[in-house]
């Protein structure tokens, strides 16, 4: 666990002529953590988030960034906002420039970077969100998902340590939401601390390291997702719903169809739990293999040749670049979110799959599968698809 990056101490805030929106909130966020602030509409989520980069100043209590109390003079705020990137709920309200390139360049330019540095930052940010080549497009011609990505790129171009996103998947279709969540996972892997607010329980449940349940300006519960969402009474009081996975697990557990104990976070967890309870460690069919391909070193023809030799294999893509490559090569993707889990599920069923990814994530796939192999004893093999 990293050091504390953000801390709130008994923060209170009342809107002018309004009711008290934040009623004494204390919590902390550690470096590299993925935290979801979950609560119903009007719980004060947005208000609280706006305090993180000094847009709203609490009436009492204190906020600390990197163990320094927030100061509210112009220069301190500029320094703070460089390190705390804020993505608003409505991208239309965040995109200010007439072209994508100019909008993403807005932050770096105002930080006083040189033209070369600005250009490099914009290229990198647009690449990271999968919008390379969109620079000259005007924002009003983009889809909601693309606008959201532009808004995120605008913040990423300033290279913040903490990313704060207010309802990042609001107004997006399910596939768009999954893309954004995977992008957040990718950024998390790169060491960014991510804090989102949402009322989408199903989305926050598998994604977050920690969940803060908020209701009427107060923290109801702060814990790992399986604990925070595991108490039906608490969830009802927070006007949320129990994630379908947890509910299913509870019912199966009562019927002796799922092994008690650890609550499942993913479909894979649940399947294993059910298998343990029902199969009793008996013989399992031979597992399929997971093939990993680094698309940066594998050429188009080599990949096509490999695929024609493995007809009908399921394909998943991890990461923005791999997805773009799959789209460019015209490969139909079976999975684009939670890819490793889904491929392990396939393998448990005796089917093989291919994961397209880039650079360091190949090792990540191997580690994740190796860990699963140790835990479950299922002999799933990871094979690299080599370039030639």
């Amino acid at each position: 666990m990293g050091s504390i990056i953000l801390e709130a101490r008994d923060v209170r805030y009342r809107y002018p002529r309004g009711m008290e929106a934040i009623r004494g909130i204390s919590f902390h966020v550690r470096r590299g953590e993925k935290v979801a602030l979950v609560g119903p509409n009007g719980a004060g989520k947005s208000t609280l988030l706006l305090m993180f980069n000094g847009m709203i100043r609490p009436d009492s209590g204190m906020l600390l960034f990197d163990n320094e109390p927030l100061a509210y003079d112009r220069d301190s705020l500029r320094r703070l906002r460089r390190r705390v990137g804020f993505v608003f709920q409505n991208p239309d309200r965040q995109i200010i420039a007439p072209t994508v390139w100019q909008d993403v360049a807005f932050g770096p330019t105002n930080l006083g970077l040189s033209e070369e540095q600005v250009r490099a930052a914009v290229e990198a940010a647009l690449g990271a969100v999968g919008l390379a080549g969109f620079g000259r497009r005007p924002p009003h011609q983009l889809s909601s998902g693309e606008k959201k990505r532009v808004a995120m790129a605008g913040v990423l171009a300033m290279d913040p340590d903490l990313l704060v996103l207010d309802e990042p998947t609001n107004n997006l279709d399910p596939a768009g939401s999954e893309d954004i969540m995977e992008l957040l996972d990718e950024l998390g892997e790169k060491g960014k601390t991510i804090f989102i607010s949402t009322h989408d329980v199903e989305l926050a449940y598998p994604w977050a390291d920690r969940v803060i349940l908020l209701r009427a300006g107060e923290i109801l519960q702060e814990d790992s997702p399986e604990v925070a969402f595991g108490d039906p009474d608490l969830v009802r009081r927070a006007r949320l719903s129990v994630p379908a996975l947890l509910e299913l697990h509870r019912e199966l557990e009562r019927r002796g169809l799922s092994s008690p104990g650890r609550r499942p976070r993913t479909v894979l967890d649940l399947v294993r739990s059910v298998e343990q309870a029902t199969r009793g460690g008996g013989a399992r069919p031979p597992c399929g293999a997971i093939h990993v391909c680094n698309v940066d070193v594998t050429g188009r023809e080599a990949l096509a040749r490999w695929l024609s030799a493995h007809d009908g294999i399921s394909i998943g893509a991890m990461g923005t670049r791999a997805k773009q490559r799959a789209a460019g090569d015209g490969l139909p993707l079976d999975f684009s979110y939670g890819v490793i889990d889904k491929c392990i599920l396939k393998a448990l069923n005796g089917r093989s799959s291919l994961i397209l990814t880039v650079g360091g994530m190949v090792a990540q796939v191997e580690q994740r599968v190796a860990r699963f192999r140790e835990e479950s004893g299922a002999a799933i093999e990871v094979r690299r698809v080599e370039g030639a």
């Binding site: 906002r81 007439p98 072209t99 807005f106 105002n110 930080l111 924002p139 605008g154």
Partner: protein, 142 residues
């Protein structure tokens, strides 16, 4: 006047506004004027969006069924779009603050190179137009 309008419309329908901003900066138009122009250009689409949405909502509830109704609906339309754009404007300032605004806009340095084909086509068009104007200069229609 017709000539001026034609020239303006010709420019507007053939050249993306964003490219015009670049050229304007090269011509030495002051930065604050350009920055304002760019934000106004972006705001046009946001306000237009809101206008269409509110107008449709009114139509759906028979807001323009009679003359009196139309007048009333139009006034509320103007009012709500005004308030809406005011709020959008405040949000814009907030969004700029959140990204360390010092009031500067970047311009992409790379301009698309001038190619011979379009240059020839445009000059041919202008020449034909000029000849037409010269020939028909003495003709009075009305």
């Amino acid at each position: 006047m017709i000539g001026g309008m034609s020239a303006l419309i010709f420019l507007a329908v053939t050249t993306p506004m964003t490219d015009l901003f670049l050229v304007m900066r090269r011509c030495g138009i002051p930065e604050p004027v350009l920055d304002l122009a760019m934000m106004i250009y972006r705001a046009i689409f946001l306000i237009l969006d809101q206008l269409v949405q509110t107008y449709q909502a009114q139509r759906m509830r028979l807001g323009y069924s009679s003359f009196g109704e139309s007048i009333r609906s139009l006034s509320t339309l103007c009012g709500s779009v005004f308030i809406g754009s005011w709020i959008a404007g405040e949000d814009l300032v907030r969004a700029m603050d959140a990204r360390c605004s010092a009031g500067r806009f970047a311009m992409p340095g790379d301009v698309q190179p001038v190619r011979a084909g379009p240059v020839l086509a445009v000059s041919a068009f202008l020449m034909v137009s000029a000849v037409l104007v010269a020939i028909t200069g003495s003709v009075t229609v009305i």
